[in-house]
């Protein structure tokens, strides 16, 4: 908190709405679940590694879904994997977010036609917050996806909390598409 200490050194009281404080804390430490499915996982690793450096956004990989805030579905989801993805999502605690990375998890991607074993879009099994297009998306695109997610988180309110899965069955939230 070095920066804040310097800025507010004579009075250590900051007046802020609870909402923005909560949202600020939430969006600045998005821990994602470290699990890759296919090609996109390699780009996800590249984003986490030296050149693109996820850490500067407070985005850190966690190996357990219990400790993760975000799930990046990085790659092709197959029929065999679909139920496992669902299980992993259920294990995450609220508030939880999902980024669908790459064409395959968005819509089946190149495997939409004859891919008998490929799930045509991960949104058939779990709700998705941000779709990142590309095959595979560049690391910059994934970072942009995270920035969009942060934007969404900062607009959340306590009075109207983010719809949980049970409540959202009636009306789905409009997903954001990264340019």
């Amino acid at each position: 908190m070095g920066l804040l200490d310097k800025k507010y050194h004579d009075s250590n009281i900051i007046i802020v709405s609870l909402e923005s404080a909560l949202n600020w804390a939430r969006k600045s430490s998005l821990w994602y679940e470290q699990f890759g499915l296919a090609c996109c996982a390699i780009e996800m690793m590249a984003t986490a590694a030296s050149d693109y450096d996820f850490d500067r956004f407070g985005i850190i990989p966690r190996s357990s879904p219990r400790q993760a805030d975000v799930m990046i579905v990085a790659g092709t989801v197959t029929m065999k994997m679909a139920s496992r993805i669902e299980r992993l999502y259920e294990q995450m605690s609220e508030p939880r977010y999902v980024i669908s990375m790459g064409s395959c998890s968005n819509s089946g991607g190149p495997y939409w036609e004859h891919g008998y074993h490929v799930l045509k879009g991960v949104d058939k099994v779990i709700p998705v917050d941000v779709y990142v297009p590309g095959c595979p998306p560049r690391p910059e695109a994934l970072l942009e996806g995270f920035l969009k997610l942060q934007e969404r988180i900062s607009n959340e309110t306590i009075i109207e909390p983010r719809e949980t899965e049970q409540e959202s069955t009636e009306e789905e939230k409009e997903p954001i598409e990264v340019e």
Binding site: M79, S107, Y116
Partner: protein
């Protein structure tokens, strides 16, 4: 040795009547009947002049026009450095081929794959289960007349 020489050698030494097949382009191959497949495979592996110790690839094929299923064995000898393509064909309604798992361990997973995707049963395989698709999957996807199931465990496989 080339395919012709190997066939000639096998016919001379073991009294078979194998005949290599040629296509317009690419490799030639020999076709053996499923009843003698294991015997031929064992000879190919153990004969001093052949010593095919490496099974490079094993593929299942569906010949739709002939209503037949086939298996292609790509053999290679690291000792003599020669290759051979061996094929076996069985009817679609009774696709049983003897397993070569005990000769080349690598055949284990390849045969499971051929069973999974093409639907060939390998007699004598220690655990012939589906390998790529789930155990409760319907049909064999690489058959030419395969029809995709509409849903799997209540999740639609379509768009």
């Amino acid at each position: 040795m080339t395919t012709e020489e190997i066939t000639e050698y096998l016919n001379r030494e073991y009294g078979g009547n194998l005949d290599p097949t040629y296509a317009e382009a690419g490799d030639s191959w020999i076709t053996v009947s499923p009843s003698v497949l294991r015997e031929v495979a064992k000879t190919l592996r153990d004969d001093k002049n052949l010593q095919f110790n490496n099974l490079m690839c094993l593929s299942g094929i569906h010949y739709q026009k002939e209503n037949e299923l086939g298996v292609a064995y790509h053999l290679h000898s690291t000792i003599h450095d020669h290759k051979l393509v061996m094929k076996v064909r069985v009817p679609e309604d009774n696709p049983v081929v003897p397993s070569v798992e005990s000769l080349w361990k690598t055949a284990n997973w390849h045969e499971r794959e051929a069973y999974d995707l093409v639907g060939i049963t390998f007699r004598g395989h220690p655990g012939l289960l589906r390998i790529l698709t789930p155990q409760d999957w319907e049909g064999h996807p690489l058959r030419k007349d395969y029809e995709q199931q509409e849903s799997y465990r209540n999740v639609s496989t379509g768009i």
